[in-house]
Structure formats: C-alpha cells, structure tokens
C-alpha cells in the first residue's frame, strides 16, 4: 500500500495503490485530513491502482467529501474507479455523492 499526493494549481491528486480496508483506511484519512487542514479543499482521488474498497474506505471518502464541501470550499472527485468498486458505491446509495471521471486529466480539469 502506498499513498502519494501531487500538487496542481487548482487541486491535489491523491493516488493510492492496493486495498482500502480497515488497516489502510486510517492512513488515507490522515492524508486527506492533512490536505484539508492546509486549506486544500479540491481533491482528486486517483483509484487506478485501488483494487478493493471496504465500507471503511467508503466512509473515509464520504467524510472527506463532507469536509471539502463544507461552506462550499471545494469537492472531492474520483478518477479511474473500477466497476466492482462502483457497485459498492451504488449499493450503499453513494453513487451520486461523487463525480467520477474516467481519467485523472478529466478529473483535474473539473476544477
């Protein structure tokens, strides 16, 4: 599991590899909270190399989205979300809570 962040003019891209489960979700939360504390509320989560997302991962993304959207400061968008993970989003009624882009370029371009 590896998490990297890349700073762009209008947003930051967080890229994670492997699984987002109860073990790794707190580390992702830490990275997301660090960006929000630094007042960087426009975030792209690049999921190209994320092959699994549990309910803990769904919760980290939801909490991050709530913090980003607070007082219309920004938003969290997702890129490269695979079909199986999208299925989980839809099952728990989170499908419409995130903009999902096919690639990082389009996601970055949304800001």
């Amino acid at each position: 599991m590896e998490i990297t962040t890349t700073e762009y003019n209008r947003c930051d891209v967080v890229k994670m590899t492997g699984r987002v489960d109860t073990y790794s979700a707190p580390k992702l939360q830490e990275v997301m909270d660090g960006l929000i504390e630094a007042k960087r509320h426009n975030i792209v989560f690049d999921m190209a190399d994320v092959d699994f997302l549990s309910s803990k991962g769904l919760w980290v993304l939801t909490e991050t989205q709530k913090k980003c959207k607070k007082q219309n400061q920004g938003k969290l968008v997702l890129a490269h979300t695979n079909e199986k993970i999208r299925g989980s989003f839809d099952l728990v009624g989170m499908g419409g809570y995130f903009e999902i882009y096919d690639d990082v370029t389009s996601a970055v371009g949304s800001f």
Binding site: F52, S55, S88, V92, Y97
Partner: protein, 135 residues
C-alpha cells in the same frame, strides 16, 4: 474441496485473508464480480470480528474455512470473542442522506447485499458466521 487457515486477529491480516478466500473463489469457479463480493463480505466480517467480537486487535484468532460447493462457495468464519450478531446491527437505510448516517451499519449491509446467504451462530466456543455465494 475444503481449505482451512487461521489468522491473527489484527487488521494487517485482512489482506492475507483476502488472498486466501480469492484463491478458494477461483477454485469454486466464481467470476470476478462474485469473487469481489466474497472478498468484500469476508473483509467486512473479519473487521467486525476484530472490532466488535474481540474489541481490539491481537485478542484472538480468526479461523476461516472455504468449502467449494457444486454451485458456489461456502465460507465459515470462527472466532472466540464476545457474542457479535451482525444481524443485531441496525439496518443501514441507503435513502438516508449521507450526512445523517452512522458509520457503523454499511459493512453488515454490504455483506447481506453481496452474498446469497449470511448466517450467524454463537456457541460455547465462540461466534460462527457462515456465508454462501453462488456462481
């Protein structure tokens, strides 16, 4: 075919448990979506065992049996923690706005949604969770 493995009850084990059940799902002939469903349900169940039945990491083990059926895969998870009935967790309502939701219920909700059956039993030896996924 039946395979058995025992894992330490800590979150770091989740990935190893996942590798174990995915191999069984493949042996059972499940497709990639059914395999992902098994991985998800087992991950949620094992997280609950550590968090709720044991109450913390490193307080006991998780035993996993994978039994290949003619029409799918049966998974039995055993722990020696306190009684934890996933069905006692209040149902998550996907129509409730996300802002108003409790973080707890989504895992159990997903387990029931993605598996064909989820059955819980508590015995003198601990909790036994049996889940089946058909092809």
């Amino acid at each position: 075919m039946q395979k058995n493995a025992v894992f330490p009850g800590r979150f770091e084990s989740l990935e190893k448990i996942s590798v174990f059940v995915k191999a069984a799902a493949s042996a059972a002939g499940l497709d990639e979506y059914a395999t992902y469903a098994v991985e998800l349900a087992v991950d949620e169940a094992c997280s609950n065992i550590i968090e709720h039945a044991y109450g913390a990491e490193d307080r006991g083990e998780i035993e996993c049996d994978c039994i290949v059926l003619s029409d799918g895969l049966k998974i039995i998870l055993r722990d020696t923690g306190a009684p934890f009935d996933p069905d006692a967790v209040p149902d998550m309502d996907p129509s409730v706005p996300l802002e108003d939701r409790d973080p707890g219920g989504a895992g159990v909700f997903l387990m029931h949604k993605v598996m064909d059956s989820v059955e819980y039993r508590f015995t003198l030896k601990g909790n036994i969770l049996t889940m089946v996924k058909h092809k």
